[in-house]
Symmetry: C2
Subunit: 550 residues, 2 copies
């Protein structure tokens, strides 16, 4: 058996190592175009920013180890120019020697990844416009960031854009982010990244939303970036991070089927339409585990697992990829945003029925020092209670809760099962009623009809103009005076039962408190007294996420 | 509807609040024997130690809030002396006034908790022997710990014993722990708490295992503790934490059925054999979710959920308790040990077939600063792959992995599904192959027969005396010389393929490396070359857990 693997980073390296473990005698050739196989691409922004001091740390599986420990025939600077399916061979260009040769395969694995998208804008090929794909890119950005650069513009506010922004800022560089969408971190729902947006701005990063670059021009030692709005930004260099595109050229040229957005079509065993050719990682399209839609999700975890699965299938094992959930996390300045499953915007776009709840717990018991707040959002089916997705934002413990919910989604659990999850509790680690349980309580209450909710984005901005709605703030007077939703009337929960006469019986009552709990109590009180009532899930804190205060 | 609840802490307080939300008009009477309902009992050790500075922080739901917000008739210093099932009434002793009265109920909830066990040892009633059950206990211990006490002896090394030990040590007190068992933290398997044991000793805490107190005597201003071994310890005070016993006196006296270890018998709705009486929390016995055995698990999370379930059922809802998994965590000096499901010793005691694997990952990518090591152990069924339990020990991120596995157990997932779990990854939060995935990979490899394992506790202590076993260390020469399992021969994995002639073909090869990965590779190499081989799961690090170096 001779296996040739094109690409030696996450998916390719995993496939190679797995293949060796499954067959000690197979010939395994890894053709890596760059200088390093299996480097830590997710660490590159932190090397640029100085959090990771030594570049060597990024070389997680040095080539010598792959050769001596796994007996892999790893070749770097080895660029494949053509796949010849007839003769089952690839044409390789040795970038060191400049010579070419042909390598035959029994099975081929394409792990070419995805390349930063370069939109067709005048000046896009300027030498001070950087991507961040391989170590050469990281070296270049590191060099610029540590040699007196004072201004950088980042085009695109996705994962890499935000991580690079943080790290350049930590180098003392003035950073401006330009993002086409109306929010940073577009995979998240907009309100859920408000705290990240505010943190970035608080750290002095400029953010221009609904904005795009229309031209890059030489200017002094740097560039001028012309924006659609008419404004011009100056920068010593530009980082382009407007998403990636599958590197599918070899696949297309050899007649392999690709999806509408370019990802190679594979089955659950990562097999292409040519049974001798597999594809894994950022270059493929996969099924979304929750929605069933075909998606392209450039994440390291799925790439690694797909590599294993392709190798398994080559050796006759029926391991199958279960689809991608889109579990992801991004950190910046000590804050983190995480998500799993579908976002609200995805559900809306697909016209899927859903309900949602928000909670604002602390990461551990409030009476133990160091508790920090987070916001969690749970999306679920309004009849079955199936968990459709979750998002979280905060400082500590967000990753844990999203990981637990990701596991619940994998296990096809319902929101009612989250009520019963039994998680680690001691006051420095969590709560006797963990935030995951709280999400279960709140969502199940909604599901059962005990707790009718509405949402900030479903009530009119100016409630007092609505003749059929009564907006009731049940917080304390002090909290109310400190800031409230426009149009609200304040009746603290403690006095509500004695002041029911002040609540109109002919209107829909929309109640809220600070985080949702007292609003829920008020909802129970009012429901049982015959009122038509719903609680704003997440309360005033949710309002502030939708209406950030400058 | 009139509901009377005996006990106003975790389970009782949860039941009361839930009942109010379900019925705005019910009469709900909470009879709390102590001075405070709903206090943070899990926080008490940290108040003693000064981590929690203000005692007020422990009053999580002040009595005024329970009254005004939930309209609960909360009575403190109200001790129930008798349950009269005939007349559906309880006899209450008001400890303030000294007077007594009778309170009738439609439904009664017993949430009396569990009391620290006081073994019948001479001198056990000495006034300087403290438990830690309520705020009075905490006040007393706090006072002693902050008024010049220099020596404390802790009898019992369970959760509370270890937490109190840490906190007294932080007060500068010399602490000696006396534990009857051969290990601290008996719910865990012994090897998994080696790092906690070592940390405690490193912090200057004395630990006496296989030891017990046989007598307490007055001595100067403190006590002398006579030990079984003959030794005598001096202490300014003693903390007794040798477990708890259900406070079942009221239940037994009124003819409610209890289990063999005293926990009140309840069904899945927390209903006792009297349909008008429910019981929740530490006073009941519950079914173990994994084993199906009846157990008594004094944990706050289950108590809270049981309180909700009892209230639900009183109002006609069929919410059911799914059993307790025993998910738990304990922290000390920045280290944490966590567990969920069955321990190895429980499985052995119940003669359940199981296999186990150990891994030693870091909490996040090793190339990102601050990664800290942990050890995880996964217990699973050797044929079905069903997850039976998991334990973890380390500094950071142990709680997250155990919570994920607890959720997988709840969802009846197998070890093969852990391979496919999709968890948050960025280098500061985890790994592209998360430790949970790694557990899945390793356990699934064992399950499929790709990866035969053995364990430190299954190989002879002196392997060289075994004529039919060859112990092969595949680490580097430097690692080997730095410490190895006695009797091992060193052939580094990188040279193994060229030195197969040195490996005997007529013996069982037991191989190992530092953490298990290279040993797995060696196992694959040797299997495919016709050897009978198994890998020591967890490698030399697992050896060190079983054979701690002083």
């Amino acid at each position: 058996m001779k296996i040739v693997i094109i690409g030696g980073v996450a998916g390719g390296a995993s496939a190679a190592a797995r293949a060796r473990r499954l067959d000690e005698h197979a010939e395994i050739v890894v053709l890596e175009r760059g200088e390093h196989p299996s480097f830590a691409n997710c660490g590159m922004p932190y090397y640029v920013g100085g959090e990771i001091l030594s570049r060597d740390k990024l070389l997680v599986a040095p080539i010598e180890m792959l050769r001596s420990r796994h007996r892999l025939d790893v070749r770097v600077n080895a660029e494949v120019s053509k796949i010849d399916r007839e003769t089952k061979a690839v044409h390789v260009h040795d970038r060191n020697s400049g010579s070419g040769y042909v390598e035959h395969y029994d099975k081929l694995i394409i792990a070419t990844g995805a390349a930063p998208f370069r939109p067709p804008i005048p000046g896009i090929d300027h030498k001070l416009i950087l991507g961040l794909r391989d170590l050469n890119d990281a070296d270049r950005m590191h060099q610029l960031a540590t040699s007196g650069a004072r201004h950088a513009v980042i085009v695109g506010a996705g994962f890499i854009g935000i991580e690079v922004a943080e790290n350049l800022r930590k180098r003392g560089i003035d950073v401006t982010i330009v993002e086409l969408a109306s929010q940073i971190l577009p995979p998240w729902d907009a309100e859920m990244i408000t705290p990240i947006d505010q943190e970035l701005r608080g750290q002095g990063i400029q953010i221009r939303l609904n904005e795009s670059a229309t031209e890059f021009r030489d200017r002094d030692d740097g560039l001028a970036i012309q924006l659609k709005s008419g404004e011009t930004l100056d920068a010593d260099f530009v980082v382009l991070s407007v998403g990636v595109r599958p590197e599918n050229g070899l696949a297309i040229d050899s007649g392999l089927e690709c999806g509408p957005r370019g990802g190679i079509n594979v089955d659950e065993h990562m097999q292409t339409n040519d049974p001798d050719i597999y594809a894994v990682g950022d270059v493929v399209q996969v099924e979304d585990f929750v929605s069933g839609a075909m998606v392209q999700v450039p994440l390291a975890g799925p790439a690694n697992r797909q590599g294993r699965i392709a190798a398994d299938h080559i050796f006759g094992r029926q391991t199958a990829y279960r689809g991608t959930q889109g579990t992801a996390i991004v950190g910046a300045f000590g804050k983190a945003a995480a998500m799993t499953g579908q976002s609200e915007k995805q559900l809306k776009a697909a016209s899927v029925d859903f309900e949602k709840v928000y909670i604002h717990p602390s990461d551990h018991a409030g009476y133990y020092p160091g508790a920090s707040p987070m916001t969690l959002k749970l999306l679920f089916h309004p009849e079955s209670g199936a968990i459709l997705g979750a998002q979280g934002v905060g400082s500590n413990g967000v990753d844990k809760r999203i990981d637990v919910i990701a596991t619940a989604i994998q296990g096809n659990m319902s929101v009612e099962e989250l009520e019963e999850s039994e998680l680690c509790y001691a006051p420095q680690f969590g709560h006797a009623k963990d935030p995951v349980n709280m999400l279960g309580f709140v969502a199940s209450g909604v599901l059962r009809g005990d707790h009718p909710v509405t949402h900030v984005d479903r009530i009119p901005a100016e409630v007092q103009t609505s003749s059929d709605m009564f907006l009731l703030d049940v917080r304390s007077e002090a909290e109310f005076e400190n800031g409230a939703i426009p149009g609200a009337i304040n009746i603290p929960i403690e006095t509500l039962r004695d002041r029911l006469g002040e609540v109109p019986q002919d209107k829909t009552i929309v109640t809220y408190c600070q985080v949702g709990m007292r609003g829920y109590l008020a909802t129970r009180v009012l429901m049982q007294n015959g009122f038509d009532v719903r609680n704003i899930s997440g309360g005033y804190k949710a309002w502030l996420l939708f209406h950030p205060q400058p």
